[in-house]
């Protein structure tokens, strides 16, 4: 170690050998021909926190697994040296590795449901892990499990320790995994996307919990995340990764406020900000604003005064509130699932109107009923009560003018049919039989969404996530719709791709005069695309109004809670918000 390069420089000033918790030098990981990690070096001092930030495929999760030697026996080739809590991971025997895993360095995974064994009680699983590393009785291990579950904030831990994972909510499961990590009091916690599968309010709770635990135990944290906001909330240092290499590494405040590298700047620019107004859309809408203005005169002349005053107040892109022609209207929508005693209403008495040229954002956490609402608007689900009116006429079933773009661009395209065939489906459904015309129209659509006409005969697996979502959009456009309901259209995409797809939707809306319903859980994305916003909770709309009003001056306590939970890119703001959340929780 004396002759080694001191990669952790800044933090390793005392010169003692014991200060460094993680020391990674020239790490490379190869899977077959793919070099997932390429010459990466970093260090982590005891008690410090580092985030590995990057988009999908950047190799960040691979690094996390390599720290525990999890690539052993999988056929991956790992080069360079890895030292974690005094163990040389590359040279260690199987037994030495097992003593490291869980005891000195514990890992928390992304999906807390699939990361726990569905067949055993949660307390038993924690006790099992504890007994691997300590020679204690079953009873003592079980008591320890209850202890740590209590510590991570599981209420009634004695009873709940006997529950199986499916009886826990997502947030509770992640707490349980963190409890498992805490059981042996490790020096290092490796958290691989620990909050990605969670709702934003739950995410804030988990990040706060990690923060508190770090304060109390002094353990180091290596956080792997794609979400720059999550990193800003949780760590001292950040390392931006791309294509398996380090792009930029430094204190979190410096990297986020004054990024030195172009890629970091691009990445940060693509992150949607919940506290920023719709800047991107403004430029384009100056021309588009004229379109609804015409209809104002035609349809509701009296209401034009509203937009006039808005203009006078210097809000040129004010939403066409109460002005444009009502395209889609829902009244008293209700949808129940289940039978008998188990009946519950996923959507309960929701009414909304959507006007020409407008984007309505529907935002809510999982289980809020937003997807069910979206499907009823399109006609894929029949409402239990209430009705959907399109262009003033009550509508039953699907209508070609109302189309949908789905969340998962992988599973919403048939993998065995070419993308051209998928896009042509709505045309054929409409009775178009002329192959030449179909091909011509599909080519036009492909080009319209930024792909090439030659992609007609390719299959979905040949495209990236963002491209597949473009195909999904092209398919929705094929029927010449006036309304497109987008259900989480960008939540499966990286931020830079996300920004591109959002920009495409905005462009199409302006050019084709589309009405967009944008259903999403991400508050920042929704703000960036919406004129008006409806916040859903437990099947009801708790608050709705012009986007800026709702975001800048939320009225409903739930909306306030949601907005307070969104991670901030500014570590100082994040710290203030955390303090505020603690006060709220204490009160």
């Amino acid at each position: 170690m004396s002759g080694g390069v001191d990669v952790s420089g800044r933090t390793d000033v005392s010169g003692g050998t014991d200060v460094s918790l993680v020391r990674v030098t020239d790490l490379s990981v190869e899977f077959g021909d793919l070099r997932a990690v390429d010459g990466l070096s970093f260090g982590l001092a005891r008690g410090a926190a580092l985030a590995l930030v990057g988009e999908s495929g950047s190799g960040k999760s691979t690094v996390a697994s390599a720290l525990l030697g999890l690539h052993r026996g999988t056929g991956a080739r790992v080069g360079g040296s890895i030292e974690v809590a005094g163990t040389d991971v590359q040279q260690a025997s199987e037994d030495e590795l097992r003593r490291l895993r869980g005891a000195k360095a514990a890992m928390v995974f992304q999906d807390p449901l699939s990361s726990l064994d569905p067949y055993y009680a949660i307390g038993d699983q924690i006790a099992e892990v504890y007994r691997v590393h300590t020679r204690v009785s079953r009873r003592a291990a079980r008591a320890r499990a209850v202890d740590v579950l209590d510590r991570v904030g599981i209420p009634d831990a004695v009873r709940r320790s006997r529950s199986r994972p499916h009886e826990f909510s997502g947030g509770m499961r992640q707490r349980a995994l963190i409890a498992m990590a805490l059981a042996c009091e490790p020096d290092l916690l490796i958290a691989d996307e620990p909050t990605t599968a969670l709702d934003v309010t739950v995410q804030a709770q988990i990040l706060d919990l990690l923060h508190t635990l770090r304060e109390e135990t002094g353990m180091g944290l290596l956080l792997v995340t794609h979400d720059v906001g999550v990193a800003a909330e949780s760590v001292d240092e950040v390392l931006v990764m791309r294509h398996g290499r380090s792009v930029e590494h430094g204190p979190v405040a410096d990297v986020l406020s004054a990024p030195a590298q172009t890629y970091t700047r691009e990445l940060l620019a693509a992150v949607p900000r919940v506290d920023a107004r719709r800047i991107a859309a403004k430029a384009g809408e100056e021309t588009a604003a004229a379109v609804p203005a015409v209809s104002v005169v035609e349809d509701a002349g009296a209401a034009s005064a509203v937009s006039a005053t808005e203009n006078a107040e210097g809000v040129p892109d004010g939403p066409p509130e109460a002005t444009g022609h009502v395209v889609l209207e829902a009244t008293g929508l209700r949808r129940e699932f289940g039978r008998g005693k188990r009946t519950f209403a996923a959507v309960d008495d929701v009414s909304l109107t959507i006007r020409r040229g407008e984007t309505l954002g529907v935002v809510g956490e999982s289980g809020s009923g937003k997807t069910t609402l979206g499907r009823m608007l399109v006609g894929l689900l029949e409402p239990t009560a209430g009705e959907v009116r399109y262009d003033g006429h009550a509508r039953v079933g699907v209508h070609p003018a109302v189309q949908m773009v789905f969340q998962d661009p992988v599973s919403s395209l048939n993998p065995r049919r070419s993308v051209g065939e998928s896009i042509a489906d709505p045309l054929r459904a409409r009775g178009e039989k002329d192959e030449q015309r179909i091909r011509g129209r599909v080519t036009e659509l492909l080009e319209r969404v930024g792909l090439e006409g030659a992609h007609y005969d390719r299959y979905p697996h040949e495209f990236s996530g963002g491209q597949r979502q473009r195909v999904g959009i092209a398919r929705a456009l094929a029927a010449d719709p006036r309304v497109i309901v987008c259900d989480e259209p960008v939540s499966a995409l990286d931020v830079t791709t996300q920004a591109q797809v959002v920009a495409l939707l905005g462009e199409l809306q302006r050019e084709l005069g589309l009405v967009l319903v944008f259903v999403a859980h991400d508050l920042a994305v929704v703000r960036q695309v919406s004129d008006r916003v409806a916040v859903m909770r437990r099947g009801r709309i708790v608050e709705s109004g012009p986007a800026d009003e709702v975001y800048d001056n939320p009225q409903d306590p739930y909306t306030k809670q949601l907005l307070a939970a969104v991670p901030s890119l500014d570590p100082q703001v994040a710290a203030r918000r955390r303090a505020a959340r603690r006060e709220l929780a204490a009160a």
């Binding site: 999890l70 869980g102 995974f109 699939s114 990361s115 064994d117 067949y119 099992e128 691997v132």
Partner: protein, 332 residues
Amino acid sequence: MSGFSGFLVRRAIGTVVTLLAISVIVYVVFYATPGNVAQITCGPRCSPEQVHQVAQQLRLDDPLYVRYWHFLEGLVAGQDYSTGTSVEHCPAPCLGLSYQSDRQVMDIILTKLPVSLSLVLGAMVLWLVLGVGTGVLSAWRRGRFTERLLTALTLAGWATPVFVIGLVLMIVVCGELQLLPFPQYVKFTDDPEQWAWNLLLPWLSLALIEAAAFARLTRASMLETLAEDHIRTFRAYGVAERSIVGRHALRGALAPVIALNANNVGSAIGGAVLTETLFGLPGIGQELVHAVNVVDLPVVVGMVLVIGFFVVLANAVADVLYAVADRRVVLT
């Protein structure tokens, strides 16, 4: 426990409906079968008058629904049969009398069923232990020599017909080595020890083949479970591979094994004809084949119903086991 008793009631109703449907199908199939049943039953040397008498006695000239109704009556209320000289009472549930022997079908079943149950349940224990054990071992030792050897053996076991294994076992064990006498069925109630010794070879030959299927299924299902996320969690926490395979992966891999076992036990009760014939075991399978050959309708219906009952029962037990193994399963 209201959920469980509800499950039992629903299953019982389902079983009755299934069995009634099976009996209707058997009646229709046999009604449509060509050939003079009365002639076959009476024998080749019967005069036309005798054949006519038999036909009347067996009510063969009645329309199908009358005969079926008669059968249902017997099931619910019992039946009196005239056997020419005397009248025999057949108490409910009465499955009728055999055309061939005039014995009550219920009696025949009660003598044959213990033999089949002895054979199948004993063999089941063996095939589960051998099959699941082999499967677990090859999943644990995946990619190594042990696994390749086991895979080759199970494939060979699967491909070998039961009469080959059975014959080889008999010739070697009973003939050459004279370790065991040639098998002969002894009732469990008469002498449990002799019962087990005599059934050892039939058990082995039936189990070896079934075990091969179980080994392959267990291995495949374990490998699938081993690729799941929660297995990665326990690896990342330093749990030894032995416990990961034996505790976490096995539990996750059990569901398809339970399903296959239910099917195999159910069908082997009536379907282990080869094994029964080879070892001279007077079981359900043998009797059924004989009854079909002589168009002995009451016996066929009775046997088919018994087999159907055990298939349904085995599947109900499997459903309960699913729920025990995996708490997420709700019995309905």
